[in-house]
């Protein structure tokens, strides 16, 4: 049996069934006449408009009931606010939608996972797909390069973020919260000798920016080198398998039979010139 909590919410004020109504005679003895029925529904919708506040609301049940607690009818949440213009906007409705809330709660509770997944989803899924969707016979190879650049930069960006950038961010967060532990000597400088809080201090904000950006500047060359080095492999092992390659396999087969290509690595004398020519014909420059 559900016990009624009469003083707490308007929902509780509306009885769930006739049987309960009979039991809770003291607080809700007023049975509604057909005339009152409209009033009940009307008030029920007012409550309903405040969905956030009450998790469970089954207004089918309320339609069936015909008793209402008049003593609790006017609570703070039952007041009609419809007069304010801000509440009529679409933004307001969107802001209160349950779907959005679920999504945001997920983003809040799994911040790093969410962040990384989304970045990877874009760089390794959506972006290459959109780029390859534009491809035709003519520019297929070019678009494939752009797509593999996107994938490799996404992967490398994620790895660098996990290993370097995000620990630094967390370290800075720790300083901001407990400057007396992590920055004993610098504390006076950051807080202007204790007159300002860490979060409001311009000096600390500037220092945070510096600490976030300087590692990015330092690591840029390494990051780019690895990213570019990965492009041919992503091309070869992922994109060529999905989209096929324009480079004709016959050329490759011909080259395999070519003795200069086959034994180029032991032919020390003419190694340089031959290898260069073979490489050029292989890549299609000497057409």
């Amino acid at each position: 049996m559900i016990k009624l909590q009469t003083n707490q919410t308007p929902v509780a004020g509306i009885m769930r069934s006739k049987r309960e109504a009979a039991l809770g005679s003291e607080m809700s003895s007023v049975a509604t006449s057909p005339k009152n029925h409209f009033e009940l529904e009307h008030s029920a919708f007012k409550v309903c408009s405040d969905k956030n506040h009450y998790d469970v609301y089954d207004h089918a049940v309320i339609k069936k009931t015909n008793s209402v607690n008049k003593f609790n009818k006017k609570t703070a949440s039952n007041v009609n606010f419809r007069g304010l213009p801000i509440m009529k906007t679409k933004t307001w409705k969107l802001a209160q939608s349950n779907l959005l809330h679920k999504f945001l709660k997920m983003a809040d509770s799994n911040q790093t996972v969410f962040d990384a997944l989304f970045a990877l989803l874009i760089t390794c899924g959506l972006r290459p797909a959109a780029i390859m969707a534009q491809a035709n016979e003519h520019n297929k190879e070019k678009n494939k390069k752009a797509a593999s650049h996107s994938i490799s930069s996404g992967i490398i960006g994620y790895i660098f973020a996990v290993i370097i950038y995000s620990p630094i961010k967390k370290g800075l967060d720790k300083i901001r919260k407990n400057p007396e532990i992590y920055a004993e000597k610098a504390k006076d400088f950051f807080t202007y000798n204790g007159t300002k809080k860490m979060a409001a201090s311009k000096r600390f904000q500037t220092y945070t920016m510096m600490c976030n950006y300087i590692p990015q500047v330092i690591t840029a060359s390494v990051r780019s080198a690895i990213t570019i080095a990965m492009i041919p492999y992503i091309d070869k092992y992922i994109l060529n398998k999905i989209f096929g390659s324009n480079i004709k396999p016959t050329t490759k087969a011909e080259l395999q039979n070519d003795p200069t290509y086959k034994f180029a690595f032991i032919n020390f004398k003419n190694n340089n010139s031959n290898a260069k020519k073979v490489f050029q014909s292989f890549t299609g420059v000497m057409k």
Partner: protein, 316 residues
């Protein structure tokens, strides 16, 4: 309870047994953590190291030199351009990438870089303004207590209502506390400065606003305090005589007041934090990581084709 800005992997695993309540205490004898948190130790070390670096004189001088300048946008743009130019260099040097594919890829990288940098300077301000407006509405719509929600909704429609709210807050000990520090919380930040400049540009500014702006632009280096603090002092003094300034102050105070209420409102603070993360991801990541590169690809292709055709013509 205060929201943690970052939830570590270990915490996630710890709390995953009860998704409905993320503040549930971890189980005793937790298998996952063993009482050791390797990431925590690393960040601890980093925090100590950065604290020590921050105590050195040259760094402090550099910080003082930079703090009153709006360098943030330029720094982000600089890092982006630098990374892209490294990409281009490495592509040109690469031995594995086919020679005839190098040029299109380099042009592509340059086009993406140019588009995103241009976007950062033009689009960001526009987006920021609109997002700020939406954020405010979103935060107000999700305050748990209906009375407070109504109060802030009224405030949003009419910033002058703050005076009424302040008067009423005198009787409410909880509200009184938070409304007392609103003056202290106010910051003369880049947003306020921009808004004032816009007002002066439009020609709708009254005498007080014009005076204030001329005073602020003439401010030199301040000893022992930020330029923004001095500007705030001037602003607060001028506020009494000007309606526009009061409105600007009230608007920022409202955002601050919402932040204060979120401290006691778990649902609101969760949603606010989630919104902050989702906002930067959905909008900025979407634009700079997805839309700009996808739009840049056909442009880059056509440019590289033209260059190739020119080369062919020159060779023939």
């Amino acid at each position: 309870m205060q929201i943690q800005p970052y939830t570590s992997k270990y915490n996630l695993l710890k709390y995953s047994h009860n998704n409905n309540n993320r503040y549930s205490t971890p189980l005793k004898g937790d298998v996952v953590s063993f009482g050791i948190n390797p990431m925590g130790k690393i960040t601890d070390g980093l925090a100590h190291g950065m604290g020590k670096i921050g105590a050195t004189k040259p760094v402090q001088r550099l910080v003082d030199f930079l703090k009153d300048r709006n360098y943030q946008q330029h720094l982000a743009a600089f890092v982006g351009v630098m990374l892209s130019s490294f990409y281009m260099l490495d592509t040109a040097k690469s031995k594995k990438i086919e020679k005839d594919q190098k040029m299109p890829l380099i042009v592509n990288q340059a086009a993406v870089c140019a588009l995103s940098t241009a976007g950062a300077y033009t689009l960001d301000n526009y987006l920021d303004r609109h997002i700020a407006n939406f954020t405010e509405k979103f935060n107000i719509a999700n305050i748990s207590d209906p009375k407070t929600r109504k109060m802030f909704a009224k405030l949003h429609d009419n910033p002058e209502y703050l005076a009424v709210v302040k008067r009423r807050a005198q009787n409410n000990p909880e509200l009184k506390k938070s409304f007392e520090i609103l003056d202290k919380m106010f910051e003369f930040n880049a947003g306020v400065e921009k808004e004032l400049k816009n007002i002066v540009k439009k020609g709708t500014a009254d005498e007080t606003v014009k005076n204030l702006m001329s005073q602020i632009t003439q401010l030199g280096k301040q000893n022992g305090m930020d330029k923004a603090d001095k500007a705030k002092e001037l602003f607060m003094a001028a506020k009494k005589n000007s309606k526009t300034l009061t409105n600007i102050f009230n608007k920022q105070s409202m955002t601050n007041a919402i932040k204060l209420t979120s401290n006691n409102d778990t649902k609101l603070s969760t949603l606010m934090n989630g919104f902050k993360i989702a906002k930067s991801l959905m909008i900025f990541a979407m634009i700079y990581r997805f839309i700009a590169p996808v739009v840049a690809t056909p442009i880059a292709n056509s440019i590289s084709e033209k260059i190739e055709n020119k080369k062919k013509a020159a060779n023939a």
